[in-house]
Symmetry: C2
Subunit: 188 residues, 2 copies
């Protein structure tokens, strides 16, 4: 049967299956055609691939193997992550947590946010941002102590990458840390 | 024939026609169905609407009445706007400029950007952002002095809105300024 997947994602991010179409420069309407009888078909050049995608998507839905949960702010994300991991903690190492969301390191807590739109007439703007609470350690220590956790370390400086990834491995007790360099992350 | 449209938009924003499908919570694959003969069809509940959307989209493309140009940064946006308006300025008031992009008021110029990812170990972050160059005035004065310009003023404070919208009208010499309050902009 394989894994069932809970796909926690930022609103409007790429999603499984539909990702082949939603963010393409040509929107999916370019893959469709209007037949003379008024019926909408799929362009023959794209039909085979779309059928495969659609079949897999239907399978996943039919077997209730895919749940989408969306978030917008980093606060939403952290509360969601805590809830989901708490619920799943009984699965122990049979649950794999794949922490691929690029969560920001800094944020402005709601109580420090301006009530109204910031007026731009007064020149430069200085923003003070707080650090996002570190959640990788409590996640392992308290939420899912026996979960199988795969996390990511992204850097732009290749001299830092390996040390920081290794540090994350020992410090957070994750099972796997995947180190990526920003420039080469899509090809290496 | 109506207008031909140059749709300058932020990458991955909503786009004409496909907007009915790309950003819905259920991705467009939910509108499709796999028939027994292996052919992909459109769910009967959605076929009529999709046919109308597809027909209009095909018409616009056939008549070369729709050009998509995408940008990512505010700098891209400003250079693009200057190029497009300069090319179109000979059309005078027959060209309508509908400035609906929510361009940020502040940005970090590339020469002031950190070279590497900012490390988060050192507590809070202070960001100094410059004002985005004001382009509404030069647009009218220099780029398209006789164009028909519709601009937008968004505020969160209803006490400021009318004055600021009126001020924009006289200060920039736009033909129309549409004032919106953030909370009610989609219903009023």
């Amino acid at each position: 049967m394989g894994y069932a997947v809970i796909f926690m994602h930022r609103q409007f991010s790429l999603q499984p299956y539909s990702r082949h179409y939603t963010h393409s420069t040509n929107c999916f309407l370019d893959f469709m055609e209007l037949r003379n009888d008024g019926i909408i078909g799929v362009n023959p050049n794209h039909a085979q691939k779309m059928r495969l995608v659609l079949e897999k998507y239907r399978q996943a839905k039919k077997h209730e193997a895919l749940l989408f949960i969306e978030f917008v702010t980093v606060t939403d994300y952290l509360f969601l992550l805590r809830s989901v991991t708490s619920i799943m903690s009984d699965l122990n190492e049979r649950a794999l947590y794949y922490l691929a969301a690029a969560v920001s390191d800094f944020f402005i807590p709601s109580q420090k946010m301006a009530q109204h739109k910031i007026q731009s007439g007064e020149g430069a703007l200085t923003l003070k941002m707080d650090q996002v609470p570190k959640f990788l350690k409590p996640m392992v220590m308290n939420w899912v102590p026996r979960g199988f956790i795969v996390s990511f370390k992204l850097e732009t400086d290749s001299n830092l990458l390996v040390d920081k990834a290794r540090h994350a491995l020992t410090r957070y007790g994750h099972q796997i840390v995947i180190g990526n360099l920003l420039e080469t992350r899509k090809i290496e």
